[in-house]
Symmetry: D2
Subunit: 324 residues, 4 copies
């Protein structure tokens, strides 16, 4: 049970949580995987056995120019442009023989523009990265040379569990902005869902708040960068103690906004990434999967979510697929 | 059995193959999935049952500036740059309170720069796209507005089969450039592999030529755009008749180069994409998986390969994961 | 004197203006320069002779992430990122000997994101480009293969004239949104400025509305894509008859918004680019120059405004410099 | 007269040259302009008076995918793609009324991909930038926050002088790779050109080696990043003593390659940018201008070369225009 929060002392609270919840050197000084170490072959066998109907759910939002980004910290939406099109092919100007025609395209995008995993080099605490490394020894202008997202590519497949907090505790399935999801809320949600929603070592936990559902209905507004429901700072102990391998939400920032301190910026990130070494997913689309789970009462599934292995990336787009 | 090729008449051969092998309107006039229609829930249950050890294999090449692209048709390698780094965080210039520091990044890349799926809007035959649509009605400067890669995102998970033609028929595991893999070669490879390598309806078939192995040893050279082993034009009938859902290779262009006509450009593409509606993957890294298959004699596995759903893309990067 | 506008018949008005104001084939069937043909060596000598004090004025807005773009038609603001920084150099991780350190950078930007010239391939009328060419024969996915902006690079240097309509006719130097600047307004402004503001053949005319001044004070809002003062559709005849080489404004779209028809999109563009072949500049920053002109009563100057010669571009960024 | 070079001691030679040639604090601790301080109003009046015929010369190379870059340090060639084309306009799919059609485009490019100015934040010496600032206090992931290229935009217009060393000292107008141009070579070239080629305070000096001429004839090869003729390390004193405002060459790196030390990287840069504060231009196309100068015997002209003011850039593309 974490101690009560002192709203006026974020730095102290962060330091205390970091001490309680650290996985530093748990897997040796050279470790680059953090909580992915919890996701082992046995867990994957358990996950694959959850495929009963063979139905798939894409958990990715569209990657396009009409996405949620508003330019915060130079995060634009993806810009997708064509190198060649069907119109060019029809016109016959492409220079290919015998009626061959082709289309090709490029994209420019911030790696955190849409559905993504944060890498372990994404957030630092007082100049220190995961496993106690100096931030500048890890992430330079060349990218993350130690814990780049490519190190995770083969690992993120296992048992997924949905905790649909929005549906259990919200009005009409949605939590309001500023709603801080505590360990108690997570427990109550799992209890309401039944035994398929138990959470344990090596699981990939998906927390639905309903924030994306609202953005779809009302427009993006400040969905990507503004107020939001999300995990309470106090869940650091739960995130550490459950020994889950990763967690993802349908919000831009995973943790509650505004946060629970008078003045702080993403304090839960500051504990979970550099100290717990936790893989955090953001901007996932959990709505279709959640509707199915509510319909069949089964909240566990086989989940594959390998990030695009952009060498040295501190986060990367992902097209997660759940199979029930 | 396809008729013998007339090297001097690619246009005639393409037209004949297109007639023999067409799936046009097989799934109705509005279909956007092509051969993904073969990949159903039963096939996914079959695939999930193949997870025996829980071991994963990433089949993606690195997405980075040192990749294989040489600028052909404006295809550069991905350029990954940082918006913020650990050095900035250490210096304390990021403007965050209480020791919070962050790193963020962006990427610019052709969607076919590295490991990818071709979408159904990638290649046209005489101005016609998959299912008989006009090329310019499908792919404009706005992208593929009908068969964009996002339509495939939830589908590409199922049973994978590796046909390691390089290992069975090559010298030291590698086929030479210009080696045209025929249906007979595929059959002989499957026979050599044994019963786990049988190929059927709805499967995702991976063909290893060893071309990437060679590029790793010798340098990229013209790996991305030049001569290569690959599928013979004559495999169009096999690709159609087996009713596979998709096929991917460790080469840049899937089919053999130089091709088997005096003068043609990617003639097999011209049949399989607009006429068969086949999903084709290129630039996959099959080496680690192939070594494991050779070691344990099991050539089938669970495969998830959801493309990044860039709206309207005619191809997209993918981080495929095989699980055995 | 142009006929009165029928608000309900934009298509008719455009067609009539196009007939009255066409330069089609004026310089031969192969011409790619349009009104730049008016800017000759004599005009450049006249322009250079206007350098009296040797003072320079940059007329470019900043090219950065905090610019005016709001994503209209995938027009983002420029995204500038670093390949190497001073922090990396200090850290000594760059791999250079003897204390050498370097910084390098990249930019992604729509070519019309900030201060720019429209090229002659930027706007079409009923599928027809400048000089009667088919739009699709000029601008394909390869870019403008006929009138690409690189054709203009060496030409845009000559006599500049400022018409500060905002200062002469506006309140506190600014015209309100929807203010349609007519030929009469331009004439009255020139008359108020005195003889240095005379406009003639081959001149580069800068029209200040004060719209940018307002955006600087109030925030961008819809500065790039929304309502604005600007040139009246009825100025087509003036723009044609004066035989100016180019015109630029401090607004995003050069012409008045909303325009003077019940339903039309940039109707003046539809006449001046494909029919007059006029070079149009947008998003220029005229404020410092205008203040100087007001102070010394001299509204003419030497102006160099070569667009960045991006091959095949239909518009390009420019860093214009006026010298008085 | 600089001392003779000790090939084995680049670090000592750089330090000694830096001491002899420093402009540190010459214009005060807050200066951001360096040698641009030499380019004053009187010099601009002198430059404008050189416009005699009114003829212009663009000194920019094309900015396109077929440029010289080979990927060195993630420097790709510019990638220019279309957002809309004439083909789309003809097809009538753009959604505009009354026959309006448009084309739009974007570019991704390293800022040093083609014709450019190095900014004062581009090179550091032992972690120190121009005027003695710490490199990391100047250039972070946010860009150059002190001496960003935008600070120079209004300044780079004045008297240009061409020193065609290739034509005077080379074979058929071209110097070979490794040819180190000394102050004596520059003096001899100016003497051969006659009085219009005198070089003095505030001038913008263009040095033609003929290297681009060769690349045009033979192909890019390693034009951008490899061996080249260029300025000798020993010209540091000349570059400092002449008090020129800027210098530009037709090579990728301004200084000779291989350089004159056993082991060093761009040692002349290490002196001229952080110590002299000199503006250095690279990849300029001087051939057409040089031909004209040879023809009329006049080697001075008006030169405008305002870099694109990308906020915080450490270098920027430029479309220089010379007028004679």
């Amino acid at each position: 049970m974490p101690p009560p929060l002192d709203r006026a002392d974020p730095e102290g609270a962060i330091a205390a949580a970091a001490r309680r919840c650290s996985n530093r050197h748990r897997w040796g000084a050279d470790d680059v995987l953090g909580t992915l170490n919890f996701l082992d072959a046995a867990k994957r066998r358990e996950g694959a056995a959850l495929v009963r109907r063979g139905e798939t759910f894409s958990l990715a939002q569209p990657f396009d120019a009409h996405g949620p980004q508003q330019g915060w910290r130079r995060r634009t939406n993806p810009v997708h442009t064509m190198l060649d099109t069907g119109l060019d092919a029809e016109r016959g100007t492409q220079g290919f023989p015998h009626g061959f025609g082709g289309a090709d395209d490029v994209v420019f995008m911030p790696l955190q523009a849409s559905t993504q995993w944060d890498g372990l080099g994404h957030v630092f605490d007082h100049g220190t990265a995961y496993n106690g490394r100096r931030a500048g020894d890890v992430v330079t202008s060349e990218g993350d040379r130690v814990t780049g997202i490519e190190t995770a590519a083969a690992h993120l497949a296992g048992r997924g569990v949905l905790l649909d907090v929005g549906r259990v505790l919200g009005d009409d399935g949605e939590l309001p902005d500023g709603f801080a999801i505590t360990a108690e809320h997570l427990g109550a949600t799992a209890a309401a869902h039944g035994p398929t929603a138990r959470v344990g070592r090596g699981d990939l936990v998906l927390v639905r708040t309903g924030r994306l559902t609202r953005a779809r209905r009302e427009g993006w507004g400040d969905y990507a960068g503004g107020d939001s429901p999300g995990l309470s700072f106090t869940t650091a102990d739960w995130l550490h103690g459950t020994e889950i391998a990763g967690i993802a939400t349908d919000t831009w920032g995973f943790e509650v906004r505004p946060n629970e301190f008078d003045h702080a910026f993403q304090p839960l990130h500051q504990v979970v990434i550099p100290h717990i070494g936790l893989y955090v997913g953001e901007l996932w689309d959990l709505d279709a999967l959640a509707a199915d789970c509510a319909a069949d009462g089964t909240y566990e599934f086989w989940l594959t979510a390998a990030p695009l292995p952009v060498t040295g990336a501190v986060g990367a787009p992902v097209a997660p697929v759940a199979v029930k």
